[in-house]
Symmetry: C2
Amino acid sequence: MSAGVRSAGEFEEARLAWVYLSRVVQGPCAPLSALIASVGVREAARAVREYELPEALRGPVAARRESDSAAADLEMMERLGGRVITPDDAEWPEWRMLGLNQLDTERDRDGAVPLVLWARGPLSLQTASERAVAVVGSRCSSGYGAQVANEISADLAGRGWTIVSGAAFGIDAAAHRAALAVGGATVAVLACGVDRPYPAQHDRLIAAIAETGLVLSEYPPGTTAQKHRFLARNRLIATLGDGVLVVEAGSRSGARNTVKWARRLGRPAMACPGPVGSAASVGCHRMIREGEALLVTRAEDVIDEAGPLRLPLGDNPTDPAAHLRGAEAEVYAALPAIGSRLPRDLALQSGLDLPTVRAILPALELAELVGCDADGWFRITTRRST
Amino acid sequence: MSAGVRSAGEFEEARLAWVYLSRVVQGPCAPLSALIASVGVREAARAVREYELPEALRGPVAARRESDSAAADLEMMERLGGRVITPDDAEWPEWRMLGLNQLDTERDRDGAVPLVLWARGPLSLQTASERAVAVVGSRCSSGYGAQVANEISADLAGRGWTIVSGAAFGIDAAAHRAALAVGGATVAVLACGVDRPYPAQHDRLIAAIAETGLVLSEYPPGTTAQKHRFLARNRLIATLGDGVLVVEAGSRSGARNTVKWARRLGRPAMACPGPVGSAASVGCHRMIREGEALLVTRAEDVIDEAGPLRLPLGDNPTDPAAHLRGAEAEVYAALPAIGSRLPRDLALQSGLDLPTVRAILPALELAELVGCDADGWFRITTRRST
């Protein structure tokens, strides 16, 4: 979404436009994202202000379009020691958002890319999300679950992986605390404004995360936590990691929603087993049994799934894709030698289904075999010397 | 392997031949099974006695072919309150042995059908193996594992499922005891003669099983337990059930061998999860993770996997196979309208791989859509009135 060379004034104007729009729609808004993609953020902000909008956008902006507190919001964030991360900022993890960009927002109504991320904490979002795993699970975790979340998260964080979670009771808190305890990186994604920790009993935990890590929200300061916001928040947790690990989940746990997002985004979904009689593991067992999540028991398993493809180098230096097998090879073969192709067309070309194609592309990207631009996915043809 | 109408004298002669041959080869012997299939058991016994044998059979029979204790063995079994079950007996579960019959014994060297089964206990083997699940696992089970084995086995046995296991320490014993405790049916398959309980500390358990259930071995009385016999024994455990459940398995548990047999025989393999840190669950977690076994947590899950296909009746009364989908439909379609076909040819015809075809046929058989005779598998065309 970069808009070419801009002057400092234009950049500032764009920032105010992002912040204004974020407060107007409060959360993901696919029609607004579409408008911004088509006319740019400043023109989109003007159109919202003047209500010159397609029908689909009139409803979402009607309530708050007339008040613009962008400048005040930016000042307030500065007072809080925070910032607003927009798609124009260097730390915006554009490659992480690709999965969201490719979702069919007609079907996944909350699947839009966030407009901005309100942030507190010294960590760069770009760096934090480079090697990251979401660790989530039941709020009513057992002692067993808390211990497993703690051990795996500490191990991952100690190896340089960022632990992304939601700062909730139970597994989330255990995962954040384990990362903090080993001096690792951790990111809390909230379903409310970053100025009002939720749950309130976790104000110290969230403050501790903001001290060394990152507390994020797509909702402007003052927004309260509400049910639909937790669901939209879960998509960001899944978006920011290389995979989602559920440590414990009861039969109706929200963790299953995060796993659903992971699968839509082509991220591996993993779950820990537990004692068969434990109500806190029922959801994990069901996801494993039904093939929705892969059984993992330790950090190594998680890295095996979420880590970059291991490339056997030197096999065939003239063809970097020579080691690919099965569906990966088929997706790669479906890419044109020159130019880009959309996942939908790759699915048609390869005969694979769309979710499979979407799951494979990010893995090929991590292996530096393919890249992505506005027109779709393309082969990376620069030969690396080996 | 029935040999048409026989006189009582011929029947007795055949029985003595089976028992003689069982003691000569002591365990599975594919070349001998092939000879029996080709010339009949009495002629095979004569050929072994007179050493008129193909090269492959000379070695296996050389050591013991000159002593014939068949009559004494039968007398001894009677004194023990036991019996010898031969393929000529009504309680021989011929349909259970089909899987073994179809194995490629070149590859699966111990994959032959047992010559006879030495038995103690009042239960008919035919009845016992009608609805049966093998419950096996680590000898060094945890308290957790013993409890899970106990709960699931008691539940299954209480619903009329026979619990088949190996009478070993740990999970095996817990499974047998649970079945006994609810007055259910249980079968212990030993890797030694049925006259010498192994392990010796389980003499009371094995005696209790022989009182209401069945203690089986393909090894003649006096045979001691040896490593290769446990592996061959595991194939019988897998053969006699509709599926194999592993409750706990360490990283090098023999239970994995039983699972391997289950998969070769087309039986579902299942495993219980446990705490991630438990060494006694490492093998189960690995089998689930690698897709070798399906995660199950309770008797209902086991029945879902091992139970007969549920037929939605009345959908299309003129075509009993109308409800089949996917690979099942393809295998059924590959069967000729009249006549039989071997699994190998069904694989060629359907384009499915051989293990898949082998896994599907028993399910179709349970659904009474196909049957099997010496020439292979055929469609059951008798219309059932619905």
